[in-house]
């Protein structure tokens, strides 16, 4: 039962992939802010821990050909400083401010948040709303990409194979007139796990919804798109009727559970409330 694992600190992605290909239980470790909590409570289920903190290749955020590429090793502190403007900043900045507190933000990485795949992971709703894909790399299989919804399989389960490293997330750079909304509801101002979080992007063309993305956190086993709601809004103007219908649909789509943070009923009600608030906000956002 004792914690007996080995530790390796690869210098680059190639070395890391080799380490991940080792037999036994191999655990990549980035900021450690999920892993160390687990290790405090029970021995780590790992024979080898692969430290990712030295992999410079995972650190940059870059933009090319209309695509944003965010390295898996980007910390939330770094993400908070990022000022891309528009919908991107509109979603990421409040998410980062609401993410844990400054100490954890200095350690925790985007990649760790995605791979931990908690239903309440704060980065998921903005990334879903931005149509992100994840990039996985392995010594055996090389690079593959997956749309984020396909990466999340279930409660803390992902499509990542044990030998794969999450290297980056990519998403199309939102258009300048993309509208957005973000809200995280917690029990405390700083450092509180989400009761519900919501991220939206909407493209309005001549007053009608051309494309809507409504992503919800902490209301289902994994962060989710409110697909039906998104489809319902397609081609519609944003008015009291459509917004009311969308909010009700989203509440129906959510599959929240009861826990000590909140009841499922309250979460569902908050989905309705926040979708309504978000769409109203978006309808009025000046462009």
């Amino acid at each position: 039962m004792a914690n007996s694992f080995e530790f390796t600190q690869p210098r680059d992605v190639a070395e890391a992939l080799d380490a991940l290909a080792q037999p036994g239980r191999v655990m990549p470790m980035a900021g450690g802010t999920n892993i160390m909590v687990n290790m405090k409570r029970a021995p780590l289920e790992a024979d080898l821990v692969v430290d990712l903190t030295r992999l410079e290749e995972l650190m940059p955020i870059s933009a090319a050909n209309g695509t944003i590429r965010m390295g898996a090793g980007v910390s939330f502190a770094r993400l908070l400083e990022w000022q891309p403007g528009g919908a991107l900043e509109g979603l990421m900045k409040p998410m980062c401010i609401a993410f844990a507190g400054p100490l954890i933000r200095n350690l925790a990485t985007a990649g760790g948040n995605i791979c931990d795949a908690s239903a309440a992971a704060d980065i998921s709703p903005p990334l879903l709303a931005l149509d992100a894909t994840v990039e996985l790399d392995s010594a055996a299989g090389g690079i593959r990409t997956l749309p984020l919804p396909e990466f999340f399989l279930g409660v803390r389960r992902t499509a990542r194979r044990p030998d794969e490293l999450l290297t980056a997330v990519e998403f199309p750079c939102p258009a300048a007139d993309e509208r957005w909304f973000y809200y995280k509801l917690g029990k405390r101002k700083a450092d509180a796990i989400s009761i519900v979080s919501i991220a939206m992007t909407v493209k309005l063309v001549q007053g009608r919804v051309e494309r809507a993305r409504i992503a919800l956190g902490a209301v289902a086993p994994v962060a989710m798109h409110a697909r039906e709601t998104e489809n319902l809004l397609q081609g519609e103007p944003l008015n009291e009727v459509t917004i009311g219908a969308a909010a009700a649909t989203a509440a129906r789509e959510a599959r929240p559970i009861d826990d000590f943070r909140a009841t499922g009923a309250y979460r569902r009600q908050m989905v309705e409330t926040l979708v309504k608030r978000g769409l109203n906000h978006i309808a009025q956002q000046d462009k």
């Binding site: 160390m36 409570r41 954890i104 101002k189």
Partner: protein
Amino acid sequence: MKKQALNFTVNKQQESIQVTPRTRLLDALRLDLGLIGTKEGCGTGDCGSCTVLLDGNAVNSCMVLALQAEGRDVTTIEGLGEPGILDPVQQAMVRSGGIQCGFCTPGMVLSLKGLFDGNPNPSEEDVRIAVSSNLCRCTGYTKIFDAAQALSEGSLQAQAADGNDDAIGARMVRTDAVEKVTGGAVYAEDIQLPRMIYGALVRSTHAHARILSVDTTGALKLPGVKAVVTGRDIDMGYYGYELHDQRVFALEKARYLGEPIAAVAAVTADIAREAASLVKVEYEELPAVFDPEEAMSPDAPLVHDEPNAYQFDWESERKGNLCYRLEVGEGDVAQGFAEADEVVEGTYHTPEAHAGAIEPHSATAMADPGGRITIWTTTQKPFAVRSYLARALERKISSFKVIPTHIGGGFGGKLYPVLEPYVVLLAERSGLPVQMTLSRDEEMATAALLRHPSKVTIKTGVRKDGALVAQQVRMLFNTGAYGPYGPNTAALGSLMAGGPYRIPNLDITGLVTYSNNVPKGSIRCPSGPQMAFAVETHMEKVARAVGMDGLAFRLKNAWDNGDTTCTGQVLEAVSIKECLKKAAAAVDWDETCPPGTGKGLACNWWVSGTWGTQTLLETNEDATFRLISGCVDMGTGGMTSSVLQMAAAGLGVPAESIQLVRGDTDTLPWDHGHGGSRMTFTIARSAYEAAQDLKQQLLEEAAGQLEAAVDDMVLENGRIFVRGDRSNSVALAQICYNRHKKHGGPMIGVSSILDDAPPTTKPHPIGAFPAPSFCAHAVELSVDDDTGEIAVTRYAAAHDVGKAINPTGCEGQIEGGVAMGLGLAMMEELREVNGKVLNPSFADYLLVSAEDMPPMQTILVEQPAVEGPMGVKGVGEPPIAPPTGAVANALADALDVDVQRLPLTPEQVSTLIATRTHGQ
């Protein structure tokens, strides 16, 4: 596990050490490098007490593997400033009073350091965010913001000018501030002894079960295990506070989930935990009871088969699961209700809450071969530790020596033995020093000293003009599996059940039930926040029923001098109206609130001390002095500021010439312990009396030497003069020197204070609140109608402290108490379902963070108490009570709802909003 080399820079020094892959950076710093200023409050990233700078960025060192720090630069608290010179951040914290227990301080300072290194002029918002991961349970953050403000404005020097004055009423800097801000203060877990091993507990996995067998063979076989102890192989007696119903280990049956059944010790804490899991306990599960009302039904499972067999120092009916019942009252409530114009009823619930000290329980014991045992522990009551141990282990009190360490926050959670018996037994069994520290999860789930959950039903009769005529109160406290503090909680509660109001007809019943829940304790102002919530929320409802404003209603009914309490205590130095008026004015009470916002008021009264103590003040040869008291300081700073200020005033010397002796139960005079708001009221008063006694002796000595009358002696600036003749004088130092040299020893001033409460007329186990203190809080908040989120926008707390010996200390207690009370009002709730605590962590049991703390107005009212030399009243506990009622009333004002339940989480508020909408 194989060790690997780690090379890194720590505090500008190159370090090369060997660590295992699982070693955390926190452990490498504390254990391998001896940098004990880095603290572990949780180990799960939630408290920030382990903060260090890693390449200049503040991070939690419990979240980093030591090997991840290879080649990197680490700064710990020990790396700030230069020897003898504090870093400006440290200076600011020392001077502002931002340090109380000091456990959060190193982390807090490093977070501020990280901020100021990158931004010398941060805004208040920047500061709040920068320290929002650093939980502080003591200060309410306000003085920490002040420290940052002073730094950012560069007003540090100005602050210094008046920072060191130590007269009565001056903001003397507590004498342990530097020790704490540099990380040098030694707390319980910092004790390191040669060959020390570590303990762990085997805990019941059932809430109620017969224990059929305990098999320790597996544990004993594990390499590294040095001792295993169970209840079957030691002598155990019953111990408790008033009620002695608990033993060290569950023997025939376990009464709550997590109750200790055995203890093990091994060479590492990991092995000890593993060994604990190898002890096989066979159970026969029994039906359990958790709800207090159900517990009182005749067919409920019995938690204690023979509750009357226990020694109980008070009187009470005790049968079934009824642990304690108390009744007190006056007049005739039936008659009162008949005379009333309106009768208003309500029922109010508060949840279980945790003391939430950032430092977990930790204790270390060493047994000498002669049979004497030394215990280092974080306790508010070192002398009581001895007597609890003596009863629990059937020994003599004198067989134990307790060395109190610095306490990283007590709040009542460290009044009672938690780990001491186990380290003692394991140290004896193993022949080695044994240390045991609770993990944060264990601390929250099983440390078993929680605030009692309450259900309070109130029926009040009022006349149209707002005069209260009758009140009936039924209080129900669920004390869990053992009731060391249940009776006391109900008895204290009964004194608040009528509020600080004149009510001619009162009928109060207090009920305490056993259940298979985790046992409850005596947390800061026990029953105060519960009663302030129930009574003050109810009073608002009563005021509304007769169409009166809450302030006017309270002013009409509040006590005046000469009024009597339900036990017949005649009240003096009553200041409740002044507190109410000042608090209300501070939030512009008369201005109406815009929609979605509301204001609320709540007031309360509470005891100052006392219990017995003894203080000695002894001369040194050079006219410096040793202040000798057995009272420890749980962090408030009373011992290291106001007690010294009072001693200095009593003697007529500067406080800096008086050295506080830190000792142990072998060397210090007996004291009851730190709790009950007694530090400045009782201990400082005793110090003052001891000082006066010593002064008299010094003056007599001088009178002899100067050949003049004692009454003509004047002590000033270190010399004693004959009144009217300055040339005829002798230096204090000369008197002291002569005395030591010629007569072989010091002069000693002595004071013994015994517990003397004001008289009462009704039978009641507590009777009166000596030198009662009064307070009122006012709050303004806004509510998000959609989500139920509350934002507190203004907060004012007016407290009658009698006399503010050290205003910084008083304010610190009030601000910290308000933070705690706001937590109880808005977020704190330990959720126990079928005896299992669902949220035993600071991630899920939320304390108020720096970002939640509203702008505070702290108002000190000084209506001197009749008792004591300066008229001091206690201020340690009272501030935690009114926030529950004030917030509930502000919410009721904003939403026009009846608040019946705490905490007011967004969901709870949203439920209230829903009832209102449906009602309309």
